[in-house]
């Protein structure tokens, strides 16, 4: 990257402009969350009036209390977490295994498999044939519909196999001479060595699972496996929000001033905070993963 250039007047003006611009960028990307946070911590009816910017005007934890007591939210949270954990781990394990197989120099079916997988990058059936398939397989209205179709991902496989290619074959060969099976080599050698690429892929996979909304709507219309994203959407549409609030108000007087606005803001915070808290620490992994892909193609 460029070393420090001479400080000329235009250059100085640019620096000032650039810092101002960056300040704007930070505000643009962070302020919406600050504002939602403030609204979520405000008393409901008061928040409807507007005028809340950085801090709650009338502090209240009512929205969060309602969410904590609501069995539907607890269930949604559970399905979301379960989906992230099970979906990510199974997908990583299976995709990694296939990435290992197609980088295995001794395996004669390597080329055939590569072609078979790469075709799926460019051609797919699209929404309707996929939907009909899920219906036919009986995967709709099950939890498995979140997991099984995502077991294998070509893009993740590309990332992983380009990483595996850099592991010296000698390591595998010596294990084979010692009598280790291929599966054992994958478990005991490949996975521990390739932790960075697993970390990178797991971030993308976990975020995708956590954020997924449409497949829940499409495949689980019964509502038995509603995730947080779906519940959040319903609260925004106020159908759920008003119902939730009314039910709770009949039971507890303290929720009397809740409104869908604050409830919606609080739910958004619950959905967003895990991502916001975790991702800065994982940054080096997801950037690493992306650049592996861009260099190796």
């Amino acid at each position: 990257m460029s070393t420090r250039p001479k400080a000329t007047i235009p250059s100085l003006i640019f620096d000032i402009f650039n810092y101002t611009f960056m300040f704007g960028i930070v505000v643009l990307f962070l302020y919406p969350f600050v504002n939602l946070m403030a609204i979520s911590l405000n008393e409901g009816n008061d928040a409807m009036r507007g005028g809340i910017y950085f801090w709650p005007r009338k502090f209240s934890l009512g929205a969060y209390e309602l969410l904590a007591q609501n069995p539907k939210m607890a269930q949604g949270f559970m399905w979301s977490v379960l989906r992230v954990v099970v979906g990510t781990s199974t997908s990583l394990f299976v995709t990694g295994l296939l990435a290992f197989v197609i980088t295995n120099q001794r395996f004669s079916g390597r080329k055939f498999l590569r072609t078979l997988f790469f075709v799926t990058m460019y051609f797919n059936g699209g929404l309707i044939p996929t939907y009909l398939l899920m219906l036919k397989l009986g995967l709709t209205d099950t939890f498995l519909v979140y997991i099984v179709p995502g077991l294998f991902n070509v893009y993740f496989m590309l990332l992983m196999s380009s990483y595996f290619q850099n592991i010296p074959d000698a390591i595998f060969d010596s294990a084979r001479i010692d009598g280790a099976s291929e599966f054992r080599i994958y478990l005991r050698i490949v996975m521990p060595i390739a932790v960075p690429v697993y970390a990178a892929v797991s971030i993308y996979s976990a975020v995708a699972h956590w954020n997924s909304w449409f497949d829940v709507v499409l495949y689980n219309p019964s509502g038995a496996f509603d995730t947080l994203q779906v519940l959040l959407r319903r609260i925004l549409l106020e159908v759920e929000g008003i119902g939730l609030i009314r039910d709770q108000q009949l039971l507890y007087h303290k929720f009397s001033s809740l409104t869908p606005l604050t409830l919606n803001a609080a739910t958004t915070m619950v959905v967003v905070l895990p991502v916001l808290l975790v991702y800065p620490f994982l940054q080096k992994y997801f950037i690493g993963g992306l650049t592996i892909g861009s260099v190796k193609g």
Partner: protein
């Protein structure tokens, strides 16, 4: 020959045992839907086999051009794609250049980290933020009013005329930071000796960016723009289902949402599959076309 194959198979049996279940998976979830596209050429009745017919040839494809919404759908798809591209193709390049011109290491890292956030946020949340921010008593309307730009709140999400620009800006907000990563790694890969040479030749700070950095990342720019232009029929999906409402219907319906609404929700499977198939075929053709143009004009191509 057969004997040799079997022998090979026997030697590699450990691997095949691992692979075969996954082959079944790939055939089921990746190849069966491709085969399922044949329903586009019939009037498929759910429950029947994919080969039961009745076969109608290209009727479903032709019918798409005759539906009353056709003009609207195509207009929305292309308009929103182009508008999004107008912001989202140059946006990350400019932002990446600005990042790379920042002097402090810490501030660079901090601003970059912040700019990646929206990429990891779901569309459900992004639309919630928009609804909260842009509602009549929301922060944005209050700001506009206090600046005297308007005297009554504007319904940004309730009027069709704002919809396209709202989507383009939302797309930009969500992806611009993350898309700088690829440009930043391209900028980092530019040979530092070129900068030395440029400085000796008397180039100033802006000259270095214009004559060395930008030409240095030219290939990356062209590759990403080819892919972008090729995806002109992908005008977004979830964001329209989430942000659109009956009042903006005329402006948000794109090919993908139409396939979902008309094909899945109303059960017109064959027709929906035909529209979807037509869209993918056109998409591939567009990438090939843009790629060929770029090879001729800019001497850079992806394949």
């Amino acid at each position: 020959m057969v004997k040799r194959l079997l022998r090979r198979f026997w030697v590699e049996r450990q691997i095949w045992i691992l692979v075969i279940p996954m082959l079944i998976w790939v055939f089921t979830f990746s190849y069966l839907p491709i085969y399922g596209l044949i329903i586009a050429f019939q009037n498929f009745i759910p429950g029947n086999s994919y080969l039961a017919g009745p076969w109608v040839g290209l009727d479903n494809f032709v019918r798409f051009f005759d539906i009353p919404e056709f003009g609207n759908i195509m207009r929305n798809t292309i308009a929103m794609s182009l508008l999004t591209m107008a912001f989202s193709l140059p946006g990350p390049i400019i932002l990446a250049l600005m990042f790379s011109e920042l002097r402090g290491r810490r501030i660079k890292k901090f601003t970059q980290t912040v700019s990646y956030i929206p990429y990891f946020i779901s569309w459900v949340v992004v639309t919630n933020i928009l609804f909260t921010f842009l509602r009549t008593e929301g922060v944005f309307n209050e700001l506009l009013q206090s600046l005297g730009l308007t005297n009554k709140p504007i319904l940004f999400l309730g009027e069709g005329k704002f919809y396209w620009i709202m989507i383009a800006l939302a797309n930009l907000w969500k992806d611009v930071g993350f898309n700088t990563i690829i440009y930043l790694s391209a900028i980092a890969a530019v040979d530092s000796e070129l900068y030395e040479a440029g400085r000796i030749d008397g180039l100033g700070r802006f000259g270095l960016v214009w004559h060395i950095t930008l030409p240095g990342i030219r290939t990356t720019i062209v590759l990403l723009w080819i892919l972008g232009l090729g995806g002109i029929l992908n005008a977004g999906f979830e964001q329209h289902l989430l942000l659109g409402n009956p009042m903006t219907r005329e402006y948000y319906e794109v090919i993908d949402t139409y396939v979902y609404r008309y094909g899945v929700q109303l059960g017109n499977y064959s027709f929906g599959a035909a529209v979807g198939l037509m869209k993918s075929v056109l998409g591939v053709a567009l990438v090939v076309l843009v790629n060929r143009l770029s090879r001729k004009i800019l001497d850079t191509s992806i394949f």
